[in-house]
């Protein structure tokens, strides 16, 4: 980095940074400490908070709520990450060319990333409706017995994952397209001169050079899918029988339905720990991406 200019007055940098630092302190760092502190109390927002030590954590663990939220979120994330990446990469490879048709398909797929989660959730709530939904009608029309995509506890989470893939596949496609355009054409020409076929060029040129992008997209979508909330809130409210109660929804439920702020704060602390680990993975991936450039 360039050494930069000397400030005219010693206090200039601090003044310029003051608004940023005040907002960071009040809305980011204080809340984090506050959550850690509140997690040691039994508090319903209305009456006096009561100190309970690590009781909230113990209760979350022993009731199985913590492991349920974790495993639900993890299963959801794994399906979303693998699905959206495979789709995004495939589309990027097929659409990495000029022309109006390719631009049209890219725009169609990316449009879902631009509209709100609420729009997407309502759209699919209607398409997947067990009585009158379009998909239900299609399945029935094909002579098969439709399933209750959102009402079946074994299926609902994966239906939400499918909807999420539909929403974010365009994002991974755009990142993969950017990655593909960084690969020098000369490498493909050299490989073609050596007589390498389509598959050979993919495995020996594209895949290894795309690897840093792949790792980056994987960790980004993992973090995003770990924070899933909107589709759950609009489409299933955590049900049926808790089968879609992901981490953030569990926190929301504890605060706004059960009024257990201490319990919710304990969940927040654990959730932050998980995100921390995932983000550190992302930073490592980022370093590799930079190093590969």
């Amino acid at each position: 980095m360039s050494p930069g200019l000397l400030p005219r007055r010693a206090r200039d940098p601090l003044l310029l940074l003051a608004p940023t630092m005040v907002l960071l302190a009040v809305f980011f760092f204080y809340p984090l400490l506050s959550a850690a502190y509140t997690s040691l109390f039994d508090w319903d927002l209305l009456t006096e908070a009561r100190y309970v030590g690590l009781e909230n954590y113990r209760a979350l663990h022993e009731s199985g709520e913590l492991s349920h939220a974790f495993s639900t979120t993890l299963r959801f994330s794994v399906v979303v990450v693998i699905g959206s990446m495979a789709l995004g990469l495939g589309l990027a490879l097929a659409l990495n060319r000029t022309g109006a048709f390719a631009a049209f398909v890219r725009g169609a797929i990316f449009s879902a990333y631009v509209i709100s989660w609420v729009s997407v959730a309502l759209l699919w709530l209607w398409v997947l409706d067990a009585d009158a939904g379009a998909l239900t009608a299609l399945v029935r029309g094909a002579g098969l017995t439709p399933r209750s995509w959102l009402g079946d506890p074994g299926l609902a989470l994966y239906s939400l994952a499918m909807v999420t893939i539909w929403k974010i596949a365009g994002y991974s496609m755009v990142l993969f397209l950017a990655g593909l355009q960084d690969i020098p054409r000369a490498l493909y020409e050299a490989a073609a001169l050596d007589g390498a076929g389509r598959w050979s060029r993919f495995w020996n040129v594209t895949w290894p050079l795309l690897r840093p992008t792949t790792v980056f997209v994987a960790t980004t979508s993992l973090i995003v899918s770990f924070q899933v909330f909107d589709v759950v809130r609009v489409m299933t409210q955590g049900g049926p029988v808790q089968s879609t109660t992901v981490f953030v929804y569990a926190i929301y439920e504890q605060v706004f339905m059960n009024l257990r702020v201490g319990r919710a704060s304990a969940l927040v602390v654990v959730f932050f720990g998980l995100l921390l680990v995932l983000t550190l993975l992302q930073l490592l991936a980022w370093r590799r991406r930079e190093a590969a450039r």
Partner: protein
């Protein structure tokens, strides 16, 4: 699969099919929104409405003050995007161009906030704002997003490639630091600022989570929240009304996307840089 390349025609047919997987749900939404209640009850999956019937849209307008929600949402998203840029410009300038003792630490603090998303902050920020009676206010919707780590980072990176001599010349002319930041550097960074503005505006315009937890009052309710409520108010099979609301919610975003596709795609792929 053969080693020969696939026929371009076959590839295009598959791609068209995939594009339809994205476009047909939109068409289905619009088609449903033009139906009437008897049509929905009798033949919910009929592909086309009997006619251009806008009664579902007037039902939406009767069910909620949609213009008011639209206004709230736009004011909120605009205030957040403008505040983020106004706060990030001087910070990005200090981090990119000035030499001072705590620069690395300040930069790390900014980037570290990427670790603390809204889903982690909402419980403590809710209790904090409740303590000062700010729940159900525009302040509760805007101020917690006043600083954007992504925006600060983006502006800092863009400023690194602006030559120091430009700033030195402005100093010789007697320009104050604020004048240098907002008067000299902001116009130079215009492409970056436009891309970031679009990204931030669309993101917050679409946001559901934060307004949901910070407001219960209709006076500050935003559009995504209001439209989602259409589904919750025991609407039963009134899908034509829900879809009419959904058209109102998604059409502006799709329009902005159609008009600014290039800028927006750049903002998204620069997020990964």
């Amino acid at each position: 699969m053969t080693r020969r390349s696939l026929s371009p025609f076959a590839v295009n047919v598959v791609l068209l099919g995939i594009a339809l997987l994205w476009l047909l749900p939109y068409a289905w939404m619009v088609s449903t929104s033009l139906k009437t209640l008897p049509e929905i009850v009798k033949a919910p999956t009929a592909p086309l409405p009997a006619g251009l019937n806008l009664s579902a849209y007037s039902d939406v307008m009767r069910a909620m003050p949609i213009g008011h929600y639209f206004w709230n949402t736009t004011v909120m998203a605009l205030a957040i995007a403008v505040l983020q840029i106004a706060v990030a410009l001087p910070a990005g300038y200090a981090l990119a161009k000035l030499r001072f003792r705590w620069r690395s630490l300040a930069f790390i603090l900014v980037v570290a906030t990427l670790l603390i998303p809204a889903q982690v902050r909402f419980v403590p920020v809710f209790t904090l704002l409740a303590d000062v009676s700010l729940i159900n206010t525009m302040t509760a919707l805007v101020l917690p997003f006043g600083v954007s780590a992504f925006g600060t980072f983006l502006i800092r990176q863009a400023l690194l490639s602006v030559p120091d001599s430009l700033i030195e010349a402005a100093r010789l002319d007697g320009a104050s630091e604020l004048r240098i930041v907002y008067g000299l550097l902001a116009p130079i960074l215009k492409p970056t600022l436009v891309a970031f503005f679009l990204f931030s505006f669309v993101y917050h315009w679409n946001d559901y989570f934060w307004p949901l937890v910070m407001t219960t009052d209709e006076a500050v309710r935003t559009l995504p929240l209001g439209i989602a409520l259409l589904r919750e108010q025991g609407t039963g099979v009134r899908w034509h009304v829900v879809m009419a609301g959904n058209v109102a919610l998604s059409a502006p975003a799709l329009l902005v996307f159609a008009l600014t596709q290039r800028h927006l795609l750049r903002a998204v792929s620069s997020k990964a840089l």
